[in-house]
């Protein structure tokens, strides 16, 4: 299925969850925050399975003023 992750279209296995997606990128769930289709997803819901056309944002803190 096609899912947009951080602005890029990616092909993922059907049923990939948010948690699995984060792991695929070698990221730690505690150090990122997630949006699914422009809405914040809290960690309790990280086992949500993604669907075709979903848009995911995986963000973290960077330097800023």
């Amino acid at each position: 299925m096609n899912v947009t992750v951080n602005g890029d279209r990616r092909e993922l296995t059907e049923g990939t969850t948010l948690r699995e997606l984060v792991k695929q990128f070698n990221l730690t769930p505690e150090k990122v925050a997630l949006e699914l289709n422009r809405r914040l997803v809290r960690s309790e819901k990280y086992d949500t399975a993604l669907k075709e056309g979903d848009e995911v944002e995986i963000v973290t803190f960077v330097g800023g003023g």
Partner: protein, 272 residues
């Protein structure tokens, strides 16, 4: 005791420092240390998904030592600023940092001036306050806009001294002074923090002498030739400005008043 409080939170140091634009993370760490700040700002951005061996900010920020204030830099609409605020809060809750629920709200008007959009700022403030956020709102130095933002529920209004990163210091001290007067009318402890445009140490002192409760800066330190030394200068500048403000300065006079008495002089004074 000179206590600085925003909402119920007691802040130990009135200098807030940004984490952006340093040459290296190590220099950032040393500069933050030298500044003696307690509150540091950070931005929220997409995680790099390729080449994750790179170093990241959180590896260099001691979350037990600093209170993290996420900003909504790069947001040009209330909607985006709210999204970013929610993400920032989620990150801080996970990290157990005291800054969770705080946000430096920036709703910008355009990329060139980076001046805040007052309407978007007010809309976002109202929404974020409903969501339980403590909003520290970046504002222009327009006193009436600042008051509207306070009325929208901001826990602090942060008027700009001059455009972000411009290093021009406090360009309109009258406006900053009027912001302070109007924001603190009947509410003398309402926190007002001068944010943006600080170029050198004296800018910080000037802001504090006007009566600001604190100063927030980033570029003035990060892009100084010696960032760590400048951070130390800023620390002293803030203390000097705060003490001077509390001391009650002498008025400015048109003519001279001698510091040594004229009584008992042995000299000839012309005109007498």
């Amino acid at each position: 005791m000179d206590i600085f409080r925003i909402k119920n939170f007691e802040i130990r140091n009135r200098l807030f420092v940004g984490t952006g634009k340093y040459a290296t993370y190590e220099i950032m760490q040393k500069a933050l240390e030298a500044s003696a700040c307690q509150v540091v700002t950070v931005a929220v951005r997409r995680e790099r998904l390729v080449d994750k061996e790179g170093r990241s900010l959180l590896d260099f920020l001691d979350l037990s030592k600093y209170v993290i204030l996420p900003n909504t830099a790069g947001c040009f609409s209330a909607e985006d600023a709210i999204r970013v605020s929610l993400l920032g809060r989620d990150l801080l809750e996970k990290q157990g940092n005291k800054g969770a629920g705080w946000v430096k709200l920036e709703v910008l008007g355009d990329k060139k001036t980076l001046l805040p959009d007052p309407v978007g700022t007010i809309e976002a403030t109202k929404e974020l306050v409903k969501e339980g956020f403590t909003v520290l709102a970046y504002s222009s130095d327009d006193p009436r806009a600042a008051v509207r933002i306070k009325e929208a529920g901001a826990a602090s209004v942060m008027p700009a001294g001059s455009p972000i990163g411009s290093g021009q210091g406090v360009l309109n001290p009258l406006n900053i002074s009027l912001c302070l007067e109007l924001l603190k009318e009947g509410d003398p402890t309402y926190p007002v923090i001068v944010d943006a445009g600080v170029g050198t140490a004296s800018d910080v002192t000037i802001a504090m002498e006007l009566g600001a409760d604190g100063v927030l800066l980033n570029t003035g330190i990060a892009h100084a030739k010696d960032a760590v030394k400048m951070a130390e200068a800023m620390k002293h500048a803030l203390e000097a400005g705060r003490l001077a403000y509390q001391s009650g300065r002498i008025p400015k006079k048109r003519y001279a008043t001698a510091s040594s008495p004229f009584e008992g002089v042995i000299s000839y004074i012309p005109g007498e």
